[in-house]
């Protein structure tokens, strides 16, 4: 076993975990309000291209992050308006957002494809903690974006569970009619939740093109937006569990390119497990695990309410008589 190889793997886990956590947290907020947004892949691409462009133009990754968040919040609001305010099918509208986002990002980024990155999130060494073996080179040297993702996770938990706004948001996602009768503005809350979800997906995109895989191509997102959607289910709509899932799925993404080295070959250094795993199997694992969790959730729901927001996917119109 080679120490550098393992540290490299752990750093990669943190990077993929950060990407997935930001996107999944955003999706979770939207779903908690009752809006399924299948546009994460497209939103992430839009975030990636906007951030990369600002990075090239200004050299400032933080400006790029904020810009991407704002752009994608607006972009996500297309889904908000279409599915919440107008009342179109959330699945169709969300898929359209993915297709539109991927296409639009490819179009807008045509001239950026061969551009060298001029901005990147720097590793942040946390004082003396960075000298701790193993942890120092991994967690205590990760970028501030990863810390920001953790902070946002904590903030999301607090807002959802400990504030009036969060209670209203969850109520809207459980039963819009009940929330409406209690005087909660259903449409407004859902629009805000979708926009916040978009902002987080935009930040994920920025992290992708300015840290995880510096540069821009129309293939940058590589299906990771879909993993984020699956993660929300895997994490049972709870910020803490979604974090665990992000690390787990991030681990699988990090393993994938390293698997060739697993087979024991004469004189080989590094991880050696003595057997071969096809990387394609590993890339399927997040979805297989999600299906397993879905089954467990459904079995549990026979005896008690499901952990999924009850009103997810439902259009709400106040009954007029």
């Amino acid at each position: 076993m080679n120490e550098q190889t393992i540290i490299g793997l752990l750093v990669s886990v943190i990077e993929f975990g950060t990407l997935l956590y930001l996107a999944a947290l955003g999706e979770m907020i939207a779903e908690k309000s009752g809006v399924l947004n299948l546009g994460v892949e497209g939103m992430m691409a839009m975030g990636g291209v906007s951030a990369f462009w600002v990075g090239v133009e200004t050299g400032n990754p933080w400006l790029a992050l904020v810009f991407a968040a704002v752009v994608v919040a607006i972009f996500a609001s297309i889904h908000g308006v279409v599915s919440v305010a107008i009342g179109a099918d959330q699945v169709v509208s969300g898929l359209a957002l993915t297709i539109l986002g991927l296409g639009l990002a490819a179009f807008l980024g045509e001239d950026l494809v061969f551009e060298a990155p001029r901005a990147a999130f720097a590793n942040f060494e946390l004082g003396p903690l960075a000298d701790i073996p193993w942890l120092g080179e991994t967690i205590f040297s990760m970028t501030l974006v990863s810390w920001l993702a953790l902070a946002l996770g904590g903030a999301t938990w607090f807002v959802l569970n400990r504030t009036r706004a969060g209670l209203s948001l969850r109520a809207v996602g459980e039963s819009a009619a009940t929330a409406d009768a209690a005087g909660t503005p259903v449409v407004r809350i859902r629009l805000i939740a979708v926009a916040i979800g978009g902002a987080l997906a935009g930040m994920a995109g920025a992290y992708l093109t300015l840290k995880l895989a510096p540069g821009w191509s129309e293939l940058s997102t590589a299906g990771r937006g879909w993993i984020a959607v699956a993660l929300v289910i895997f994490g049972a709509w709870r910020p803490g569990r979604v974090l665990v899932g992000s690390v787990l799925f991030g681990g699988l993404l990090a393993l994938e390119p390293r698997l060739q080295t697993f087979r024991c070959q004469p004189g080989q250094e590094g991880l050696c497990l003595g057997f071969e795993i096809d990387p394609i199997i590993v890339s399927m694992l997040p979805y297989i695990l999600t299906i397993v969790v879905l089954i467990l959730i459904s079995i549990r729901a026979r005896h008690r309410p499901s952990v999924a927001p009850a009103a997810i996917g439902q259009v709400y119109r106040r009954e007029e008589r």
Binding site: R162, R164, L167, R304, A310
Partner: protein
């Protein structure tokens, strides 16, 4: 403020719905600090009138005043802000939220410390003697506990007027007594309560005054409950000159049993027996009526016979075949037809067209291999529409656009066109206009004459008296009485519906 000393005054309220006049100049006066009973038969307009007071409906005419000040409620939130709370028959609670989360939803402090909120809710509850556990999730609670959460929601918003729409319908007798204590505590606090009910014993026990509605009009205003007894109340509710529908005269003799239900038990998710050891038979050519206040097990009984919900024990025989535990289709094949209470949700597919809905029972006979014979189907649909006098625009239009009467004729026709041995009809005339009611009743009578056995579940006593050969009464999931409509009086049946047997037995 209190210009006329009345907490609530509804004056000359009219409310019309397409085809129905729900309120025709109804009045109601409630004094502060009293529990006021609002009485009337099903369809007398009680719930509509209360929805006007709660801001759900805008009245066509008439005024709503609170403490002598005229109010104009555009939406429920306006009424809530003015201090009117309503506990609907169907609770509006979020099952996955705790009691306290449901209570503070929409009107809590910006930052919610769980323990603080739970303490505050517990304190409010104890002030009015409401037993509750603020930290439990609502899905774990009994119906009585859920109702107390609804009352707490209203108290949290400081409701001065609280409307309880048939609050005891879902309660056990013990829970109902407790509700009486709670309402008394609230009235003692200076609040006013409006208590919608059918049950005389509760009214005399819990209420101070009573207003009676009939046909959307107020027929007795603010009577002291001490002046009420069962006879007087029945007179007021039914009307002394109530037109009695023509009693059906039997043309054929009753044949052999086509439906036999024995000791059927159905439990809800709280393990409560909602159908409790029910046995009954329906013979060929017979109409057996089931009377009862809504929610006393009629609907689960019908669903259990049709095979839509599982039974815990007991058996169902159709034309001599034991169909217990079989699928709905097996029961259809054995000769059962079902007109469910929820016409558009269970009975018909709203977005499918008239032809498609017509053939939902007979489509096998209209198929060639895997394909449906479109021409045959449309001939079948045309005949059904013609025979049962369904007024439709285009046969290819979704049935959701049809009126209630036409929907019901289509549904009843579809179920009868397959020549069943037994028809279970749940609330087949509810919500229909006079012509629609007559049409459905005629169809039922004609079918019985042709030998179909009919189980008729209804909340309309007139209808049951007019059509039934035998009349069973359900109360709290049990069949508590059997009457011969030729000799029984409405008061006797009404007493059984209200659970009078319990009093006599003890």
């Amino acid at each position: 403020m209190e210009a006329n000393g009345l907490a609530v005054e509804l004056a000359g309220i009219w409310k019309r719905f397409p085809g129905v006049i729900a309120n025709a100049g109804a009045n109601l006066k409630v004094r502060p600090g009293t529990v006021h009973a609002l009485l009337g038969e099903n369809g007398a307009g009680k719930t509509t009138l209360m929805n006007v007071l709660a801001g759900v409906y805008l009245p066509d005419e008439g005024t709503v005043s609170l403490d002598g000040v005229e109010q104009h409620f555009a939406k429920p939130a306006d009424a809530i802000a003015a201090g009117v709370g309503m506990v609907h028959q169907e609770f509006r609670l979020i099952p996955t939220f705790t009691v306290s989360e449901n209570v503070v939803l929409g009107s809590g402090p910006p930052i919610i410390a769980k323990s603080t909120i739970e303490d505050q809710v517990a304190e409010l509850a104890s002030r009015f003697g409401l037993a509750t556990e603020p930290g439990r999730e609502v899905w774990q609670l009994s119906m009585g506990e859920r109702q107390r959460v609804e009352i707490l929601k209203a108290l949290w918003r400081d409701a001065r007027v609280l409307i309880l729409d048939e609050p005891t319908a879902v309660l056990t007798p013990g829970e109902a007594e407790e509700l009486g204590r709670i309402t008394a505590a609230m009235a003692a606090d200076g609040r006013s309560l409006i208590f919608i009910s059918h049950k005389l014993d509760e009214v005399t026990a819990f209420c101070d005054e009573a207003t009676v509605l009939r046909g959307g009009k107020t027929v007795a205003e603010s009577l002291p409950v001490s002046e009420l007894d069962a006879t007087r109340l029945a007179e007021l509710m039914v009307g002394e000159t109530a037109e009695v529908s023509q009693r059906r005269t039997r043309e054929t003799d009753v044949g052999s049993p086509v439906l036999a239900v024995e000791h059927v038990v159905v439990r809800d998710i709280h393990d409560r027996a909602i159908v409790d050891d029910v046995s009954l038979t329906v013979a060929s050519g017979e109409i057996v009526g089931i009377a009862g206040v809504a929610g006393n097990g009629q609907r689960p009984l019908a669903d259990a016979i049709a095979g839509l919900i599982p039974t815990e024990s007991g058996s169902v025989m159709i034309s001599g075949t034991d169909v217990s535990g079989t699928s709905p289709r097996a029961r259809n094949m054995a000769g059962l037809s079902y007109v469910p209470e929820d016409r558009l949700g269970v009975g018909l597919a709203p977005r499918m067209d008239v032809v498609e809905n017509s053939i939902m029972r007979a489509y096998r006979a209209l198929s060639k291999g895997l394909l449906i014979d479109r021409t045959g189907a449309s001939v079948y649909g045309d005949k059904l529409v013609e025979d049962y006098d369904v007024k439709v625009g285009k046969m290819e239009a979704p049935v959701a656009g049809l009126s209630g009467g036409n929907l019901q004729r289509l549904l009843v026709g579809r179920e009868l066109e397959v020549n069943p041995a037994v028809l279970v009809a749940a609330q087949p005339t509810r919500g229909l206009d006079v012509k629609g009611v007559a049409a459905i009743q005629q169809i039922l009578v004609r079918q019985a004459a042709e030998g179909v056995g009919i189980l008729l579940i209804s909340e309309d006593l007139e209808e049951l008296f007019a059509l039934s050969d035998r009349l069973l009464v359900m109360h709290e999931g049990e069949v508590v009485g059997e009457f011969d409509p030729d000799v029984a009086t409405r008061q006797e049946v009404g007493a059984a519906m209200a659970g009078a047997h319990k009093v006599e037995e003890t």
